[in-house]
């Protein structure tokens, strides 16, 4: 882990980054020379290939005050994954900082300065681990040099210790704070001169601390924002408090693409506290990140604005929505199921599937359905925007600061530099806040109130009815088995509206990045394989939801593999290990168009041995094969996504009345090197619970283009009684492979593992999600 990757040495630091830096005269402001190599833009994969690339200049990220307080800038969205703690921990460890004297500062939106800030795709740690270590190592070397200069000794005689530099021979010491002023005058060492700490020197990185499967080992270092959160001081989007704020809510078209025909706002304007009613123009379809349009009510407090909205009389024109106004979920599902019976666009083909199916001793066939879902972060979308003197300033809980800036600049026809965007804590993201439409919408209202901050709050109804919905999906699979039950053929047709429909005329087929999420990268070793993608039109805004298209693909493939095992009369684990075939590295270009989560497929192949290892671990820990008794059973699923590997075994019981009890979840996870194992565990635990909701409860349906669920009484989410009684996370110790994602890969195998367990307990096969009341009776 401490080895510097030579390829990374070729990349660049933004020159603009050199000129800026944190203010403060006594700070370690490294205004000196910094190696400039080749541009990030030349990178094909990884962090360098992202817009804005990576930056490892200590100027940008590390700031030391003369009193010794170390401030580390975090450039990624904090939405519960703990990146403000974990990434800061990485830098603090490499620097040698005392955790109690480390502070974090959230970067404002500035991709030129801070590198890529788009927090999605489970990329934060895997893309920023190396740059942050290099930035911290460079700062540490400069502090050592400063001490050596002060003592007039060769630099090799001094060493950085915890928050100080020591002259080994004499025992003399100088604190980081005392050295900061001198160190700032020094040249920044070149990347080739950096020596990262060895694993044995690390205090935080990779150390197991905190809560491990119910046992508290050590609670140090504590989460950066933990104390603020438990005392109510943490600042989320809605908590930004500016003098003279106006509060807005918006009535949006109930059907995607509809527009306001007429509005009578007379009663709304009579509500105490309502100041103004503002029309917002929508841009129609495709909506991208633009506001949907509608009518905003602006008031002196949120409640008055909500009351005012209730009093609006709006007539909607659904003509511009086209056939979105006819969109009805049952009919759509039936249409997709019908379409799944016919061949579609061929995505991958090996051998002759039709012939192999004809020759099979046994054929297995099934169709799986996953509905639309809303991300529904606990904090609904909200933004504060003030526009003054040709400049706009926004505060919002956003995953994608750059897109936010660009969206506001586009709407207001401003240059990018006149748009300042501050990223607050996110009260959950899950992909919803990758779309900055709500901030741009706030800007559209704020431009009517020059100089006055406008806080635009989405209600829960707004959030669920106007989500960027997780794509509804139908997956139809058919397999041929020989006389021994061994798979000879596999045909999978997948149908979902594409996220691409959000940005361009509806392609009706999944894009490369969608198919690459566990569909064409299906790693089973079967002689004849054909993967097809028949068309599926979009009628609502389709968008990223944590794990994205891995959800339906894992749901269908992992359910179906179990059905095949059952048909073959084989143990599920033995059967899937056989399906996986011999240990090998599957290069994704051999199975698809090349989408590999943006990573180099040579560095990040699909490694069957790693898949096998998580399956082995989860099943062993769960006591696979043990006698469970009547009405109880174990279910397995596994999945590769975001270049990490997850396997889950559920132990469930279903009563005669159909009541489900989840006794235990055993989750094995391999993301390669682990920066902060404790937060990896928490992500797995959380994904497990979210996945249980996907399996059991959550569904948004449409009638005539209108979402039929609007709050938590109808759009159901898992609650404490739905959680497993015990969740155990088993992290695979694997420091040698490249670092994988963490935030998303825990989610895809949850629903199929749970439904496989339900089958083991009851013999009832679930093929349509959510389970709802399918277990009753």
């Amino acid at each position: 882990m401490s080895r510097l990757d030579d390829r990374l040495l070729l990349a660049n630091v933004s020159r603009r980054g050199l000129l800026k830096g944190l203010a403060g005269g006594s700070a370690l402001l490294l205004a000196a020379r910094w190696d400039l190599g080749l541009a990030n833009e030349q990178a094909q994969f990884g962090a360098g290939a992202m817009p804005g690339g990576w930056v490892d200049n200590p100027n940008v990220f590390i700031h030391i005050d003369s009193d010794g307080v170390v401030t580390i800038v975090n450039n990624r969205a904090e939405m519960g994954q703990g990146i403000r703690t974990s990434l800061v921990m990485v830098a603090a460890d490499e620097l040698g900082a005392d955790w109690d004297r480390v502070r974090v500062q959230q970067a404002e939106a500035d991709q030129d300065k801070y590198g890529n800030q788009n927090t999605d795709g489970s990329r934060s740690m895997r893309h920023w681990y190396d740059p942050m270590r290099r930035a911290a190592a460079a700062a540490r070397l400069m502090l050592e040099q400063a001490a050596a200069d002060q003592w007039d000794v060769p630099v090799h005689e001094v060493r950085a210790d915890i928050h100080k530099v020591v002259h080994t021979a004499t025992g003399r010491e100088l604190g980081f704070g005392e050295l900061a002023k001198v160190a700032r005058e020094l040249d920044v060492p070149g990347r080739n001169d950096l020596v990262l700490k060895s694993d044995s020197e690390l205090r935080f990185i990779g150390k197991e601390s905190g809560l491990i499967n119910g046992e508290l080992t050590s609670a140090y270092p504590k989460a950066i924002d933990g104390e603020d959160i438990v005392t109510g001081k943490a600042v989320f989007g809605a908590d930004v408090d500016l003098e003279g704020t106006l509060y807005a809510v918006v009535a949006r078209p109930p059907v995607y693409g509809a527009k306001v025909k007429s509005v009578d706002d007379s009663e709304a304007l009579d509500v105490t506290g309502v100041r103004k009613v503002v029309r917002i123009e929508g841009t129609g379809q495709p909506a991208a990140f633009n506001p949907l349009g509608g009518v905003a009510v602006v008031a002196t407090n949120t409640w008055a604005a909500m009351q005012g909205r209730r009093a609006l009389k709006i007539e909607w024109d659904t003509a511009p929505a086209g056939n979105n106004a006819d969109y009805t979920s049952d009919a759509y599902r039936e249409a997709l199921e019908q379409a799944a019976q016919s061949p579609g666009k061929v995505i991958r083909q090996t051998g002759n599937v039709e012939a192999a199916l004809e020759d099979a001793d046994q054929r297995v066939s099934a169709t799986y359905y996953m509905p639309h879902m809303a991300q529904a972060p606990m904090e609904p979308p909200v933004a504060v925007v003030v526009i003054k003197d040709g400049r706009a300033e926004a505060w919002a809980p956003i995953q994608n600061p750059r897109a936010t800036r660009e969206g506001i600049a586009g709407l207001l026809e401003m240059d990018l530099e006149n748009v300042i965007v501050h990223q607050t804590l996110l009260g959950g993201g899950f992909g919803r806040k990758s779309k900055p439409d709500f901030v741009i919408e706030a800007a559209a209202v704020a431009k009517e109130f020059e100089g006055q901050p406008v806080k635009l709050q989405w209600s829960r109804e707004d959030d669920i009815q106007h989500a960027y919905f997780h794509a509804v999906s139908v997956d139809h699979l058919e397999a041929g088995l020989d006389a021994d039950g061994k798979a000879t053929s596999w045909r999978h047709r997948t149908l979902s509206p594409s996220i691409a429909s959000l940005f361009a005329p509806d392609p009706k087929h999944k894009g490369e990045f969608e198919l690459g999420m566990g569909f064409n990268t299906m790693p089973f070793s079967i002689p004849a394989i054909r993967l097809e993608n028949p068309p599926a039109p979009a009628h609502v805004r389709i968008g990223w939801f944590r794990s994205v298209y891995n959800l339906p693909h894992a749901w269908a493939i992992q359910s179906f593999a179990h059905e095949m095992a059952v048909a073959a009369g084989k143990d599920h684990r033995d059967y899937v290990l056989d399906l996986l075939g011999p240990d090998r590295e599957v290069h994704n270009l051999t199975v698809g168009d090349g989408w590999n989560y943006g990573e180099d497929p040579d560095q990040y192949p699909i490694d069957v041995a790693r898949m096998r290892r998580v399956i082995d671990r989860a099943t062993e820990e769960a006591g696979w094969g043990r006698e469970t008794g009547e009405g109880r059973g174990l279910g397995l699923a596994f999945h590769h996504s975001f270049v990490s590997y997850t396997a889950i075994v559920f132990d469930v019981e279903v009563s005669e009345a159909g009541e489900l009890t989840i006794h235990r979840a055993d989750i094995a996870f391999d993301c390669g090197p682990q920066a902060n194992p404790e937060r990896i565990r928490s992500q797995m635990e959380g994904a497990c619970v979210m996945g249980i909701g996907i399996a059991l409860q959550s569904e948004v349906t449409f009638e005539d283009g209108v979402a039929q669920q609007d709050n938590f009484d109808t759009y159901l989410l898992p609650r404490m009684p739905n959680a497993p009684k015990v969740v155990r996370v088993h992290l695979i110790d694997n420091p040698n492979d490249a670092m994988g994602g963490v935030g998303e890969p825990g989610l895809p195998p949850v629903a199929p593992a749970l439904c496989n367990a339900i089958f083991a307990a009851t013999g009832k096969r679930i093929r349509r999600l959510p389970v709802g009341n399918q277990l009753a009776g």
């Binding site: 989460a223 005392t231 109510g232 809605a238 606990m378 009260g427 938590f712 009484d713």
Partner: protein, 154 residues
Amino acid sequence: MVTLTINGSELELDVPDNMPLLWALRDVAGLKGTKFGCGIAECGACTVHLDGEATRSCVTPVSAVQGRQVTTIEAMAEDAVGQRVQEAWLDLGVAQCGYCQGGQIMNATALLKNTPKPDTQEIVDAMAGNLCRCGTYNRILAAIERAADKEANS
């Protein structure tokens, strides 16, 4: 004009009688620790104590709380039980995004004040009204048990 007693202090607020306490706290009194999650008492993010009882402030009009003690998450560090709950939360790293956790802590603290040694089922039942989209339920449960143990031992 309504007069409210919030965290021990009397506040005069110029708000209509039917304004939910949540919005009076957040938009008028400037206490932002109490969160908006659903507006229909389905998620618990807005939980406060009303005379010590866990109450959903999003559906509680200010007219209903005049003359009663309103306590919010901002005052929990001064509360012996609340403090133990907060410490347990930190020890076990409960929070992920943290947005719902103020409400969870308010609900848990009210539970422990009424039932100092709840069994697992009592905790699950008491906490079922508080949603956490990050899915921290297992740690919330463990933290409440930890705080309850400390309480019993103190």
